[in-house]
Homo-oligomer: 559 residues x 2
């Protein structure tokens, strides 16, 4: 390596948050680095931050401006926060997309939905298979997570070897996929020293070692056997291993299995078509299921996070695809609640409670295990790989900071780099090279808008404050024609004194207009400012709120 | 008791939810019962359900219509969900309000804020003190909770004794207030058999016995002593016992204590003025605190639930009242997160993490204990009081159902009665007498509006879908004057083809108007329907959204 060339790392999403993962690596002379992108995911919006928005995507402007230097895109696994933005943002990048078989199948679905070319997605074999991408050689190293075929990336560069873990756990007996193997990972580190470990931080605060997916089979079988009536289970649709465990437990309990929910069916199909899932109990259709005794039926349904349009929520509201819950049925959440989703999940719990349904949660880990490495597991990976430096990713700031602290205490150089922080990894320790302007894009309907464009801020303001629409017509001599017209949106009709709020505003605005000369009446900006002030003042006096104001001034020209 | 008279129970809030507690009891001939009300609290709104709303209150219309039969209002304790609606709703009821000293002090503050008469609030002494209210004799029986002077109500009626627990825990060594005493409670049940126990259900799913407030002193003192720099702790401002424990631990660790946050100061003042708090370390002012070494300072601050305007959030954003957090400081959340508040709390955690502040949470109970009775504690109370029936309250449906199940298994008659379900408690077991229409009121600014009035629905729709304002002027012959004018609120300016969305709408609406005869142009309803349809169709094509539409039609009369 010449003194001029450098190895850089730049998260554009996923560092300082959980969601919309997008990590750039580059190698070359400063400003001329050849680049690769790892993952291109989404985050899900909420009412507090982005009402009405469909998806949140990383702002990849920096990379887009340098798309000619982008050698390839690598997808570690098929979760939405790693692949969900591919279809929407690929047209801005247009690089080849590499992924393992199952992940590639989902990636192609994303491309298809966005009418992008499917052949941009290339299926790769895991290590020793390798992809050459400019100065990078990238191998996919199988790992366990809560979706099939997750992979860490072994990224060899002229500056040394980088291991980008993606999402992972240590599972020595996963139900689907390859078991964790200490020796294998040691051999990776022995083959070439690990310069940088860029590592999942999600569960850094969980103090106990992670538990294997395979431990769930026995308690789940017992639970499903004991259920007196229909048994319904929800988990992430992409957790194919869990679906297999649940389905097999159902069969052992003499139950037929029926799957409800599009995303779950799609994942199962992809898993079967790509050979990930070689055995899975025969499913029954919803129609066939209707004819079975409830005691001999298990439904696998979507909506473990309380999503309003998914099967769980639909069942909690009443009849869905011919099914309805009854007293004596059991509903299992084989999942954990992602922070922010608590209220939606509890809404479903309470609805089931009203129906007399027994609700079972993860029971402290009896019926669910996490897909992420816990703190002792992370420490073990540090010890196995002995990296020169540790760069925590996939976590909020508190996760990254804690993960860095652990590494530092173990004598490993570490740096907390949140979205937009470019690190130079060329030396002995990570060095901040630059701060890049980053942000978020909102998919709103079919359009991508910038998070700071003001559109969503305007929605939030209307939601919080309500809206007053004032319409005013002036003639060719700038004389008001008739009274101003006020329409209220999201505001109560009557004020404190029982007076109609819009009429009070009309009167006050009309009176003000009557006092103005032509100089003011010619001046739209001045009128807008004053009319807004009057409308808000009246609202404050009458209802104690300061609403948003939209003013429509129509000036009639001589005809 | 004659065969005609009956004892009724009717929750108007707090049953089937956690919040806005309001429970009616009545005794007398059906439809002529004399009534009492227990508690009158609020719930806090969120963006998902009620954006811009200040408080949620129970709809007490049923009681308001029968206010002439209302003998008295009793407040069990001074938490917002039990007393917060008093000032707003008292004018509709105008009955005397009874509470213990500290609670009465807070109740008077609520009355004062709403400009209601302070002398409506009567301070009562705990049992054996008693209030006669029509056919009811009510005694306040001291209990521990997370606020001083909580009380259960012993309600004696011609139909027998009812015990309404309010919020409580079993604490044999509370830091403030009277210890739990099995013998005392047994004597209450021996004195007169308990017909009905109406009982807090909040922690029915917590399987282990509750822990005493006094257990926190030692670990908190250790934690505060070890902190190398400034120590900041947050908890509910009303948890006066916790504030005392924290402040005394600080003094033991050679730190001065400074309180930041209006609600916390107010609670401490009320506790001192009412004699609840007889000893509390001397506080220093924020100005005095500035001059102290950080190592010798502890701040007690509001905002344990992540409230944006409270001291915790303010400190997480930067300088607040001359203080700012620095690397090496410690911030303790001596509290649990109420479901729904997770995101706000985590936002603060991450901001502190960025500042290098060490964050300490309740550490699984080491630094926080709950104020509610856990499942084994509830079972113990059932055993001590041996009620004929158990009516679970203060919980979501799942809590009530589980609490009822426990009672039933122990051989106690039980019924799940959510808001609006009137129970007849006269017989051996609770019987549903009637279903009352109940709901919620929103305090929006200074006005109370019904939750179903449509105002908030309109706000939610604007937030989710954005708004199109269309202005149209017609002359005296119903001819459109000029083009229609379209204004977008909370919508992106440009559609898919890069065209301006408002201009496309104006063109399409203008074209449609041009094709219409006078019959349509005279018909506001018809035009509104069509123009709405066109605007939404254009939006759907251009940006994939169906916005709300506000149409302002101005018809110019001949002058």
């Amino acid at each position: 390596m010449t003194t001029r060339e450098r190895l850089i790392y730049l998260p554009l999403g996923g560092a300082g948050e959980v969601g919309m993962n997008a990590y750039v690596y580059g190698y070359g002379a400063p400003g001329k680095e050849r680049l690769i992108l790892v993952d291109l995911g989404v985050t899900f919006p909420d009412m507090d931050g982005a009402p009405g928005v469909d998806l949140i995507l990383p702002d990849i402007s920096w990379l887009e401006e340098r798309a000619d230097r982008l050698e390839a895109i690598f997808i570690t696994h098929a979760h939405e926060d790693h692949v969900g933005a591919l279809g929407h943002l690929w047209p801005r990048l247009k690089a080849k997309v590499y992924a393992r078989r199952f992940t590639a199948a989902i990636a192609r679905l994303k491309m298809e939905e966005a009418a992008q070319p499917l052949d941009a997605v290339v299926t790769v074999e895991p290590r020793p298979g390798a992809v050459e991408a400019g100065p990078f050689t990238v191998q996919f190293m199988p790992l366990s997570h809560s979706i099939p075929e997750c992979a860490a990336l072994i990224i060899d560069t002229p500056a040394g070897r980088v291991i980008h873990t993606g999402d992972f756990k240590i599972d020595r007996a996963p139900v689907v996929g390859e078991p964790w193997d200490d020796a294998l990972w040691q051999s990776v580190a022995r083959e070439a020293p690990v310069k940088a470990l860029v590592c999942d931080s999600t569960n850094v605060f969980v103090p106990h070692p992670g538990r294997s997916e395979s431990l769930l089979a026995e308690p789940l079988t017992a639970l499903i056997s004991e259920a007196p009536q229909m048994f319904v289970a929800t988990t992430f649709g992409s957790n194919v291993a869990r679906l297999k465990t649940l389905a097999e437990a159902a069969v052992a309990a003499n139950r037929s299995v029926c799957v409800l929910g599009r995303s779950m069916k799609r994942m199962l199909r992809a898993a079967q078509e790509t050979g990930v899932l070689t055995s899975f109990p025969q499913l029954v259709t919803p129609e066939e299921a209707q004819d079975l005794p409830r005691r001999n039926l298990m439904l696998l349904v979507t909506g473990s996070q309380g999503e309003r349009r998914a099967a769980s929520a639909a069942l909690s509201r009443g009849r869905y695809l011919g099914f309805e819950m009854r007293a004596g049925d059991t509903f299992l959440f084989s999942s954990r609640v992602i922070p922010g989703n608590e209220k939606g999940v509890l809404r479903i719990w309470n609805a089931f409670s009203e129906q007399g349904v027994r609700i079972v949660d993860d029971a402290g880990g009896l019926y669910h295990v996490s897909g992420h490495a816990n703190r002792p597991d992370l420490e073990q990976v540090h010890r196995l790989l002995l990296p020169d430096m540790l760069i925590p990713m996939h976590g909020e700031h508190r996760h990254l900071a804690e993960h860095a602290r652990i590494a530092t205490e173990a004598g490993i150089a570490a740096a907390v780099a949140t979205n937009g922080t470019m690190l130079d990894l060329s030396g002995e320790a990570p060095v901040v090279a630059e701060h890049i302007e980053t942000g978020r894009l909102y998919l709103d309907g079919t359009v991508l808008i910038g998070a700071l464009d003001g559109v969503i801020r305007e929605r939030l303001r209307m939601a919080l404050n309500g809206l007053v629409v004032v319409s005013l017509i002036l003639d060719e001599n700038d004389e008001p024609m008739g009274e101003p017209w006020v329409e209220l949106m999201g505001l109560t009709e009557k004020g404190l004194g029982g007076r109609l709020l819009n009429e009070t505003m009309e009167a006050e605005i009309g009176e003000w207009l009557g006092r103005q000369g032509r100089k003011v009446l010619k001046d739209d900006d001045r009128m807008e400012e004053e009319i807004r002030r009057i409308a808000r003042q009246v609202a404050m006096e009458e209802i104690g709120k300061k609403p948003e104001v939209a003013l429509v001034i129509s000036r009639l020209a001589l005809e």
